[in-house]
Amino acid sequence: MADFLLAAAAVVLALVALGLVRVARGPEEADRIMAAQLLGTGGIAVLLLLAQAVAMPGVVDVALVLGLLAAFISVAFAKAAGHRVADDPARAGRE
């Protein structure tokens, strides 16, 4: 079971790390924030799987803190991105 959970953690990690390509490619700010958000959720999943696979105290707390701080930073990003779009004359007023 520990082996399976480790393998699942590796798979989820590989997937969300791959998703980070979206941070590089963009093209909009929203795309980059999205990829970071996926990394946050994937990170939580990896931590919960690791907490069960390797008996280490406090890893679930790390997942909890990751969730809270990911929410905080995503809100900060979304607000900043909204201001950027509004300020950029080429993009504001589109659609």
Binding site: A10, V23, D61, L68, L69, F72, V75, A80, R84
Partner: protein, 315 residues
């Protein structure tokens, strides 16, 4: 190839790739997103290195709060692309920085890889004296008992950083409120989140602070969660940043370092050295220090991200 090695290899490669991209990214906002992603991955690395206390701190301060600070700075730059562009360092400087980084990394790698097996360590002595401190978490024992002087200096450094940020304000704004007034739709999603999440976050923050005595956690991690929840409420416009000349605010900021320093100086009289604790009361003194320190750090971190005052004080 074992599964653990595969997991660690993926993690290592991802960390290196994200770091490399963050350095060469052109757009400041994109680079900040990359930096936060780097911090999240680094927290996973710390867990794989069996250091959940450091992972907590990295996820909270290294990634979350520092990310908030950088985003705030980026927002201030947004109208000023030309001014930011002038500051591009010359190629020779960048090359020198790259060479210096490679040399330091190679040196660290050499030291770690060439350590004798078993490596020299003070861990057994630290664990042996744990009972005297009354704590169950050796990391907290190091931070608050064996090397409390370092923690005191860290707390003071945070306060000095805040004073530095406040000094960036123009004279006419001194004493005013940090940041601009946030206007958010009172029926919108952000206000909903800012009403629902902070109570839970405060519980988690207090839990982390309290459980740090026996499990991964401690006052820095708990305080950061508290600060993040305060900042969330500020971003949603539910609370306004306090004017920086308020007495209660300044009291909250210095209460932690002041109590820490006072107990440290009292250590001369009671136990013979600065920050020495009498053996029977070590745990009690540590809790007495940690409680105001948590409050002070939460206030300091929140105000650090809120930034220098941008509004004139009333009256």
């Amino acid at each position: 190839m074992s599964l653990a090695f595969a997991l660690d290899a993926i993690l290592g490669l991802a960390v290196l790739a994200v770091a490399a991209w963050t350095i060469v990214a052109r757009d400041a906002f994109a680079a900040i997103v990359g930096f936060v992603a780097f911090g999240l991955l680094l927290a996973l690395v710390w867990v794989r290195l069996a250091a959940p206390d450091v992972a907590l701190t990295e996820a909270a301060i290294g990634s979350g709060v520092t990310g908030g600070l950088l985003v705030a700075a980026c927002s201030h730059l947004r109208g000023d692309a030309a001014a930011a562009g002038i500051e591009q360092p010359r190629a020779i400087l960048r090359l020198a920085a790259a060479v210096a980084c490679v040399v330091v990394t190679a040196g660290l790698a050499a030291i770690v890889l060439l350590l004798p097996d078993p490596a020299p360590t003070l861990a057994p002595q630290a664990a042996a004296q744990l009972a005297q401190t009354g704590l169950g978490n050796p990391v907290t024992a190091v931070l608050m008992a064996y090397r409390a002087i370092d923690t005191l200096l860290e707390v003071v450094v945070l306060l000095l950083a805040l004073v530095g940020i406040w000094s960036l304000a123009p004279d006419r704004f001194w004493g005013g409120r940090p940041g601009l007034r946030q206007h958010e739709d009172p029926n919108g999603m952000l206000v909903f989140l800012a009403r629902l999440l902070p109570p839970l976050g405060v519980l988690v923050g207090i839990h982390l602070f309290w459980v740090g005595a026996v499990a991964p956690g401690g006052e820095f991690q708990g305080a950061t969660v508290l600060a993040a929840m305060w900042l969330l409420a500020m971003m949603a416009g539910l609370v306004d940043a306090p004017p920086i000349d308020r007495r209660w605010l300044r009291l909250a900021l210095v209460a932690g370092p002041a109590v820490f320093l006072a107990i440290g100086l009292a250590g001369f009289a009671v136990a013979g050295a600065f920050l020495a604790y009498p053996p029977d009361h070590a745990k009690l003194l540590i809790v007495i220090i940690e409680t105001p320190v948590t409050l002070s750090i939460a206030a300091t971190l929140g105000l650090l991200v809120a930034g220098p005052p941008e509004r004139a004080p009333p009256g």
